[in-house]
């Protein structure tokens, strides 16, 4: 029979310790509402980073959707994670910490590739598929981006259709175009080029071929601009794929 004065039992009692202060932070996600380029959005984040950005009619609606998708309890945020508010307003989100733990490897690869697209530029879905290591999974890329947990922060609005149209967006196609125009993408020119069968632009002076929205392509003077329908045509004409926009994987020299 165990008595209260049992020294071993007492010593065992000493093994009870306070939980580390970070434990609750590993259980709860925090949420807040913040202004963004598309108006007020709701944002949720864990101790590892931002994991959900959505518009919603009410905080309750956002919270319900978050719980259904992530199965984690929410509490109001004390403050926004560093860098979140500027990123929502359109500053670079490349240093912002994101929590993408619940996603598959392919989903993470798609978001990582999308995250590398600079403001003011666009890439076709096929480019993301290739960068994510599955060049034929173009439709799958569309599905992943349609469910992008962190739009704006991973700029899925910069992934567009190969025919020059903006394509679907989880906040609506017109929002997608607005965002691109606000970033100074010449949406109309891109569409006109695509209609004329031009998907790549090469510079006769540098011998480099780019996507039309690449900042290198935009500097090419009209006299030295050469359009290509397919990247293979540009390569066989002696052009080298741009290292920034990566319209094709560069052939080893």
């Amino acid at each position: 029979m165990v008595t209260d004065s049992d020294p071993v039992a007492d010593a065992l009692g000493e093994l009870a310790v306070a939980a580390p202060s970070g434990l609750a932070g590993k259980v709860f996600s925090s949420w807040l509402q913040a202004p963004s380029r598309i108006g007020a959005v709701f944002v949720a984040f864990t101790s590892d980073g931002v994991d959900y950005v959505r518009t919603a009619g009410s905080a309750e609606e956002f919270q319900d959707r978050y719980r259904d998708r992530f199965g984690r309890p929410l509490r109001p945020a004390r403050r926004a994670p560093r860098g979140l508010l500027p990123a929502l307003r359109g500053r670079s989100a490349s240093a912002l910490r994101l929590d993408l733990h619940g996603l598959s490897d392919f989903e993470r690869d798609v978001l990582a590739a999308t995250r590398r697209i600079s403001a003011g530029q666009t890439r076709p879905y096929g480019w993301v598929a290739r960068e994510a290591g599955r060049p034929r999974a173009v439709r799958a890329v569309g599905s992943v981006l349609a469910r992008n947990p962190v739009p704006l922060l991973v700029p899925c609005h910069r992934v567009v259709r190969a025919d020059g149209r903006a394509g679907d967006y989880l906040f609506g196609t017109s929002r997608k175009e607005e965002l691109l125009r606000a970033e100074d993408v010449d949406v109309d020119e891109v569409r006109a080029l695509a209609a004329a069968g031009v998907h790549y632009v090469g510079s006769a002076t540098t011998g480099v071929v780019c996507f039309p929205t690449c900042h290198h392509a935009r500097r090419i003077t009209p006299a030295h601009r050469h359009g290509f329908a397919r990247i293979a045509a540009a390569l066989s004409a002696g052009y080298r794929p741009c290292r920034h926009c990566r319209p094709a994987v560069a052939e080893p020299a």
């Binding site: 071993v8 010593a11 009692g13 093994l15 009870a16 939980a19």
Partner: protein, 190 residues
């Protein structure tokens, strides 16, 4: 300590707000037991996993079922299962590299000598606890580390109370024998 009735009533009214208090009240027990069932570096993650599993289960419960819950044995039962699963998963995977997590600082209060002595005792106890058969270790930890009454220990172990009591007392006996063997008679605890 807040009563379970208050906690479960709050949970039934507002799951997320109520869950804040559940974590606050029960994290000490869950973490302290987790420390004895997992490597120290994994204990916090294991405890967090327990609360997340509990939350996911609670989402599917109606108010009546939530109000009937006895939270501490329920949470510790989840812990028992989670620890079992992670041990099974770990045995299928190669061991991870040693964790680089900083060691928790001892709380201020006792003198350095006392702290060292306490830390030694704790380490020694922790080591010999690890040598007990699983069910005895869990029974002893639940009763004497987490301070559960035997009826709750039985609930977590899923056995009759008499069986739980015998696991506890056999575990303690074994623990004493191991401590004596480790440090010779007269040394060890006390």
């Amino acid at each position: 300590m807040v009563d379970d009735t208050e906690l479960t009533a709050a949970l039934a009214a507002d799951l997320d707000a109520g869950f804040v208090d559940v974590v606050r009240v029960h994290q000490r027990s869950v973490y302290s037991v987790a420390l004895r069932l997992a490597a120290p570096a994994d204990a916090q993650d294991l405890a967090a996993e327990v609360f997340l599993r509990a939350y996911r289960a609670l989402r599917g419960y109606d108010g009546v079922r939530i109000r009937e819950l006895r939270l501490r044995p329920w949470l510790l039962t989840i812990l028992r299962n989670a620890a079992r699963n992670s041990a099974r998963d770990a045995s299928r995977r190669p061991a991870p590299p040693p964790a680089a997590e900083p060691v928790e600082k001892p709380a201020p209060g006792p003198s350095v000598e006392q702290q060292v002595e306490q830390a030694d005792t704790a380490r020694e106890l922790g080591t010999v606890l690890g040598q007990l058969p699983d069910v005895q270790r869990l029974a002893v930890v639940l009763r004497h580390v987490a301070g559960l009454p035997t009826v709750e220990v039985a609930e977590v172990l899923g056995c009759p109370e008499g069986t739980a009591k015998s696991h506890i007392s056999r575990g303690l006996q074994r623990l004493r024998a191991l401590l004596c063997a480790e440090s010779g008679v007269g040394k060890g605890v006390r």
